[in-house]
């Protein structure tokens, strides 16, 4: 875990160095375009966390093992964190390029809605006392939320939005120069490592909490 965290930190430093000292300003946008190197990888990391939460929830309902529930809540918090990064960096970029902080287009709205739904997931967890009932209900909720994440991902293709369309070559077949595009993927690797480290930390916390709960119950029984 420490190795993963170290690798993530090293890559982020390298990416910061590269984008500020080597990558030139973009022709139309100027310096602010560099926010893409954190905005897009954060969005992908948040989506990956959401997918992991969906899979962990399915696995919980299938296997009924509380460890999957712990995984689900850990990665959901990762999705919320990186989702917040996406929203904030996007707003900063929008303020410079569009002149406004926020606009109600399909991409922005669906991102915010998905983010709010995951916040609702954490609220639901707070409201249920009994661990297996909490795990079951939140797993069902997580599965219900996931189509919204898919809509968010596809929204720039389905609707004409103010948000820029797909710019990465893997989705649109060219757009950015290779030298300008590669730091995005490298930073994605760093942020995925970071998300994994955070999820592991949270997972350990959840494990301890479960141990404490069972100890407390044993004491009560005695």
């Amino acid at each position: 875990m420490i190795a993963l965290a170290g690798a993530s930190a090293l890559i982020i430093v390298w990416v910061l160095y590269t984008i500020f000292l080597h990558v030139p300003d973009e022709k139309d946008q100027g310096a602010i375009f560099r926010i893409i190197y954190f905005h897009v990888p954060s969005a992908m990391t948040a989506a990956a966390c959401a997918l992991a939460a969906f899979i962990a929830s399915l696995l919980y309902l299938w296997r009924r093992d509380l460890r999957y529930d712990a995984v689900a809540v850990s990665v959901t918090e990762g999705a919320l964190l990186f989702g917040a990064v996406v929203l904030v960096t996007g707003m900063i970029w929008a303020r410079i390029i569009w002149g406004i902080w926020w606009t109600w287009d399909a991409r922005l709205t669906s991102t915010l809605v998905s983010w709010l739904m995951y916040a609702g997931y954490l609220m639901l967890r707070r409201a249920v006392e009994e661990p297996t009932e909490r795990a079951r209900n939140s797993a069902v909720l997580s599965i219900f939320i996931f189509p919204g994440v898919y809509i968010t991902w596809k929204s720039i293709e389905w609707w004409r939005t103010q948000h820029p369309g797909p710019v990465l070559s893997i989705r649109s077949g060219g757009g950015m120069a290779p030298g300008m595009e590669s730091p995005i993927y490298i930073n994605l690797l760093a942020l995925l490592c970071l998300a994994a480290v955070l999820a592991m930390l949270r997972y350990n916390q959840e494990k301890r909490r479960r141990e404490l709960d069972s100890l407390r119950r044993t004491v009560h029984a005695i």
Binding site: G120, A127, N137, I143, F144
Partner: protein, 226 residues
């Protein structure tokens, strides 16, 4: 066949209980009329302006009214441990869910058709020009709301903050259904027929209904029984 009969029995039971007590029905009807009244103070209800926002106005009223009905749907069974009895009965969870969803759907649709004339009178809007298209949108949109709402009613039935948690969880998930319903209703109430450019909205509505009905039917057993 057996499944359909079980669904029908549950639906009949819910509707009968509601029509005898009328507690959710009266409350949500009164609530919708009050909201319609309040909206008239939020802006100048001249004919032109109202036509542009009529869909949004109506669907907000329906979503609020729906939350009141849906809240009661499973909470009504808590007294005398009726929910445990229903779960223990030979009716499968999916039939229980579907019966309740259909009952809620009928109730909400009835409220909508009472609200529409009130809306037409208060805001001077002729909403009957394309009644068939409007009914289609209402049916599709309301089914989306009731499927999500009934499912989350089952999910939140044991919570302390049930009345609060249901709308907080429901409304964001309902947005992909509310959005096309609002847009299509606005167009239809303004007197235009459903053109080919409206098909995307209809597809989104149908897709939403199908996906979440299937999801809910598949998962409701786990929520109710464990």
């Amino acid at each position: 066949m057996r499944f359909l009969r079980q669904t029908f029995v549950i639906c009949q039971k819910d509707l009968r209980a509601e029509l005898r007590s009328k507690e959710a029905l009266n409350a949500s009807l009164a609530f919708s009329v009050v909201i319609l009244l309040l909206f008239s103070f939020a802006f100048d209800p001249t004919a032109e302006q109202t036509r542009e926002i009529s869909g949004g106005l109506l669907w907000l009223v329906f979503a609020f009214a729906g939350a009141l009905i849906l809240n009661r749907s499973f909470a009504r069974e808590l007294a005398n441990d009726c929910l445990d009895a229903l779960v223990a009965s030979p009716v499968p969870g999916s039939a229980l869910f579907l019966g309740k969803a259909i009952a809620n759907f009928v109730l909400l649709l009835a409220i909508e058709f009472i609200c529409l004339p009130v809306f037409g009178v208060f805001y001077n809007v002729r909403w009957t020009t394309h009644l068939g298209a409007l009914t289609l949108i209402l049916v599709l949109g309301t089914w989306g709301l009731t499927v999500i709402g009934t499912m989350f009613s089952a999910l939140t039935v044991n919570l302390r903050l049930r009345e609060l948690m249901l709308p907080v969880l429901c409304y964001p998930i309902m947005i992909p259904c509310l959005l096309p319903a609002i847009q299509l209703s606005t167009v239809v109430i303004a007197g235009q027929p459903l053109g080919p450019d409206m098909m995307e909205g209809l597809r989104l509505l149908v897709g939403f209904d199908v996906i979440f009905t299937v999801l809910a039917l598949a998962l409701v057993e786990t929520v109710l029984i464990g």
